[in-house]
Symmetry: C2
Subunit: 290 residues, 2 copies
């Protein structure tokens, strides 16, 4: 039963290198830290410091190990409190995240059919945030373009997204009816920011393309009206009321034009998320909605 404050002091010392700076960082006085480290050594029954000379101390190898382990333990403790708090909250809310906007758009459209209120976090999650976000109960569910299987979490395939283009009806593209990414080489597009993995796919698959990124949907739709540049849509992202502009949909037939999505959730929250997943599967739009 070690007082975690002592461990904090140790970790801070490992970072700063002197007791006084440690004290300052933790808003304590030097004597407190001195006593703290003495007590820690006493409780562990082990020397952690080289007390060379008379007013200089440093960690010995045992101390370095202890500091590293202490740091891990403190992290674990933070995780514990966060987990518990998130779990308690999860009794009343249902937070959904994603690494791409598509699945969120579909969820938005069907959430009113669910008995529980879900909250969709429109801020996309990065690849490496997905698992921690779910494991810590911060999110009850995240959508990902990758599959994960861990002790705590499982993935379930929910469907795929495919792009198509909305092009001016008089453009060359419109007349083709269907294109590959290669055939789009050099073209300029209007594109939304925050499209997750699609950004990388478009940029690498279409040679020499120019992407005019727009921050929000409203400025994109605005620009769409007054420009002839083609704009991307997908089976998950098309206006519910058809736009009355002079544009026609053009298929993109390309093996790279596909993102498979998985729902990731904690196994112990499976019951909570299944209704939403089934609703998603049931309402998943087909490739090309026109």
């Amino acid at each position: 039963m070690i007082d975690p404050r002592l461990l904090q002091e140790l970790v801070a010392f490992a970072k700063t290198g002197t007791l006084s700076q440690t004290a300052e960082e933790l808003h304590l006085t030097q004597p407190t830290v001195t006593r703290g480290m003495q007590k820690l050594e006493q409780e562990l029954g082990v020397a952690l410091f080289n007390r060379t000379g008379n007013n200089k101390i440093s960690l010995n190898t045992t101390g370095q190990l202890a500091a590293k382990e202490a740091s891990r333990l403190l992290d674990m403790e933070d995780e514990l409190t966060e987990k518990v708090r998130n779990f308690a909250e999860s009794q009343t809310r249902f937070l959904v995240g994603s690494d791409a906007p598509g699945p969120l758009l579909l969820s938005e459209r069907i959430e009113n059919k669910l008995p529980v209120k879900v909250k969709l976090d429109q801020n996309l999650l990065a690849e490496d945030e997905l698992l921690p976000a779910v494991e810590s109960y911060r999110y009850q569910l995240v959508f990902s373009s990758h599959e994960y299987q861990t002790d705590l979490c499982e993935s379930r395939y929910i469907g795929y997204e495919q792009l198509f283009l909305m092009c001016d009806k008089n453009s060359d593209l419109a007349k083709k009816g269907s294109v590959t990414f290669q055939e789009l080489a050099g073209v300029s597009f209007l594109v939304l920011q925050g499209i997750g993995p699609w950004k990388q796919i478009k940029e690498s698959a279409i040679p020499n393309a120019h992407f005019l990124y727009q921050d929000d949907l409203s400025s994109l739709t605005e620009l769409t009206k007054y420009s002839q540049l083609p704009v991307f849509r997908s089976n998950l992202s098309f206006p519910s009321h058809p736009e009355n502009d002079d544009r026609v949909p053009v298929r993109i037939d390309d093996p790279k034009n596909r993102l498979d999505f998985y729902a990731i959730y904690r196994k112990d929250q499976k019951k909570m998320v299944m209704p939403l997943l089934e609703l998603l599967s049931k309402n998943w739009p087909e490739d090309f909605p026109y």
Copy 2:
């Protein structure tokens, strides 16, 4: 920064189910536990208990999660202290374990060639104790008949052990010069206890055999003198001074007659163990020392 005592109380409550039993288990008074759990709830900002009625409380789902996580955290803390203590000790001693006696016997024979003093633990370790024993710095090195690769530890192949038999020179076995396990069906043997994986190998490979297990080496050698029963030896286990009895070695030619050994050690203690490993490799006896 949660007081670990509160976590202990929570864990104990999860086990006992009542606050009073919790208090008893931890040698505290009930009011202390009551206040402790109230404080824990307050610090986490979360309800952990169903305070139904008036004198009965139980964990709610959040509390159950918290208790589980707290238990894990406390285990981690125990591990930390043990690791640090073991590590500190490992500065002065070099403890070696094994899941089979063979490598220990060889180590015994060569340990005087090492500059450092090694301590060989003759109590064999079970399969599932090996990794924890090394990861916690309790042992600096263990020998295992299985390979392991983890974040912290690595395995290094050091050699193999092979059995042969010492048989009465007038016996049928002695005349054959070489046998398979199958051919030993129904035979009775004198066998030492504490031979690790070999026990399982012998018992499953030799049909209808009878094994007369002896606890210690002295009673085995004693019995060996006065009986004609065959006894097992190996390239790692044969007397340094030849026994002057009426026995001759008999090979066992059988694919199952082989145990590969690996040395397992923490990567951060590699420097410490390498001299011993190299010495072992250099002095590893060949299959059949006669």
